[in-house]
Amino acid sequence: MIDIVLKITLVLLAIAMLGLTYRLVKGPTTPDRVIALDAMGVNLVSIAAILSILLNTSNFLDIILLIGILAFIGTVAFAKFLEKGEIIEYDRDQ
């Protein structure tokens, strides 16, 4: 029973991933693409969680936190690049 529900959820998440890919390819502006990438990271977290239930292992739980942190850092770096033009500045008080 729970197996079927989890597999249906995986299919739905894959459909959501396809929609995000459409936004990533089509997106008229760069922020659209960045937000699509961020949402894909969150989707990836859910897929990893569902897979760890399906495979009956707790070894993927570290991966979930890792993807969350990496998606956050990546989105922040992209946002700073769009805002200021450089990602790491040498002296911000200039």
Partner: protein, 140 residues
């Protein structure tokens, strides 16, 4: 135009410690669970990169008083020293020793010299990643 990113800076200050603690957990869990020196080192440098994004390179250099190039040599010294230390006890190169100890706060703990080797990997990964990012970021 002077930008005001107080939200990002406050969040970065809090999240920095979360990432560091998660990295330390990954480092120490490496013997029995997924993780280890490589992922821990990468995540630690990710935390420092987050601080670099929120502030600037000058502030980070003032905060971390170590040259990251020294970390590479220190980590290599740890790894090579652990490997060569087994030669003193007349066993083959890279033979690790371990034993169970009764520590006051942790209870029965297994201490392994492979952790010292892992510490070397951890330091080398931090040093290499931060050196690459600093040298790329500094060039005008």
């Amino acid at each position: 135009m002077k930008t005001n990113d107080v939200i990002f800076q406050t969040i970065a200050k809090v999240v920095f410690f979360m990432i560091i603690f998660f990295a330390v957990h990954l480092f120490f869990a490496g013997h029995y669970h997924p993780g280890g020196g490589f992922v821990g080192g990468l995540l630690t440098s990710g935390a420092i990169v987050l601080l670099m994004l929120a502030f600037d390179m000058k502030t980070i250099k003032k905060g971390f008083l170590i040259d990251f190039k020294w970390l590479i040599s220190l980590g290599l010294l740890f790894s090579a020293g652990t490997a060569a230390g087994s030669l003193i006890f007349n066993v083959p190169f890279f033979t690790h020793a371990y034993d169970y100890f009764q520590l006051p706060l942790f209870g029965k703990t297994s201490l392994h010299t492979a952790m010292l080797f892992d510490l070397g990997v951890y330091l080398v990964v931090i040093g290499v990643t931060m050196t690459i990012i600093q040298t790329i970021g500094e060039s005008e």
